[in-house]
Amino acid sequence: MANSQDQELIYLKRLTDGDESAFRYFIKTYQDMAFTIAVSIVKDDFIAQEVAQDAFLKAYKGIKSFNQQSRFKTWFYTIVMNESLLRVKKLKKEFLSFNEIYEADIPDGDFSNVLDESDNVELINSAFKLMLPNESLVLRLFYLEEESIRDIHTITGLSEANIKVLLHRARKSMLHIIQRQKRVKQ
C-alpha cells in the first residue's frame, strides 16, 4: 500500500515537472473506478466514459493545485463525482430511480441467501443502475474501494451521519431490487 503511494508520489513529481506521459499511470490506475463512480451517478456507460475523460482532463489541468495533504484518489474521486453531477445537470436527464418504498423491514440476514447465487454480478450491476445515484455511489465507495466514512465525507461532501444512513438504505435497497429481479426471473 505504502509502495503504491510512494510510486504515486514519484509520478506526481514527474507530472508537476512537466512530463505529461506520467499521467498514463493515473489513467491506468483509476480509470475503472472513475468509470464506476460516473456510472453510479449518470447511469449510462457512454456518458460515464465521457465524464471519466473530462474528470481526468480536469485533474491534469489542476494537478498543481493538488496539495498532497489528502490522497490523490480522494481528490480525484471528488472531481469525478462533481463532473458527473455537472453532466447530469447539463443533460437534465431523468434518472430511472428506484422509488418504491424499500424501507420495509427486511432483515439484513437475508443478504446471505441472495448473495450466494451464481448470477450475482449481473444482478448487482443492474441493481446499481436502478438505485438512487447517491446510494449507489456511497455503496460502491464503501465496499469496492473500502473508503472510510471520513474519506467518503471528503469526496461527497455528505455528513458522516448521512453517509451511514445512506449505506444502510443502500444495502436494503439493493437487497430489495435483487429480490424483485429474482421474482421477475422466476
Binding site: E20, D32, Q53, F111, I124
Partner: protein
C-alpha cells in the same frame, strides 16, 4: 453483521466495473497532449502581447524623441529620421499584428477541433 458485510464486499468486488472502452487511455492522452499544445499557444500569445506592448511604447517614445528633440544622425535630417522610424514602426506593427492573428487563429482552431 460482519459476516454479511464481508459477503456483500465479496459480491460487490465481483461486480466491479471495468472500463469497457479499450481506447480510453489513448483518448485521454490525446486530450492531455492537446491541452499541452493549447497551453504552449496561450503562453506564446501572452508573450506576444507583452513584447508587442513594450515595443509599441518604445516605438512611440523614440518617434516622439526624434520629433521633439530634433535629433539628427550622420547628417540625416530629423524629418527623414521620423519618416524612417515611422515606416519601420508601421512595418513591425503590421507584422506583429499578423503574427498574433495567426496564433489566435491556430488557438481557435485547436479549441473547436477538440
Amino acid at each position: 453483521m460482519e459476516n454479511i458485510d464481508s459477503r456483500l464486499t465479496k459480491a460487490l468486488r465481483q461486480s466491479k466495473l471495468k472500463m469497457p472502452y479499450a481506447d480510453f487511455e489513448a483518448q485521454v492522452m490525446y486530450k492531455v497532449n492537446k491541452e499541452v499544445v493549447r497551453k504552449s499557444i496561450l503562453r506564446n500569445i501572452k508573450y506576444a502581447f507583452i513584447f508587442f506592448s513594450i515595443f509599441l511604447l518604445l516605438g512611440l517614445f523614440i518617434n516622439s524623441q526624434v520629433y521633439f528633440q530634433k535629433i539628427t544622425i550622420k547628417g540625416i535630417s530629423h524629418q527623414l529620421l521620423i519618416l524612417i522610424f515611422q515606416a519601420v514602426f508601421v512595418l513591425c506593427f503590421v507584422m506583429q499584428i499578423d503574427y498574433m492573428l495567426g496564433i489566435i487563429k491556430d488557438e481557435t482552431a485547436n479549441i473547436f477541433d477538440s
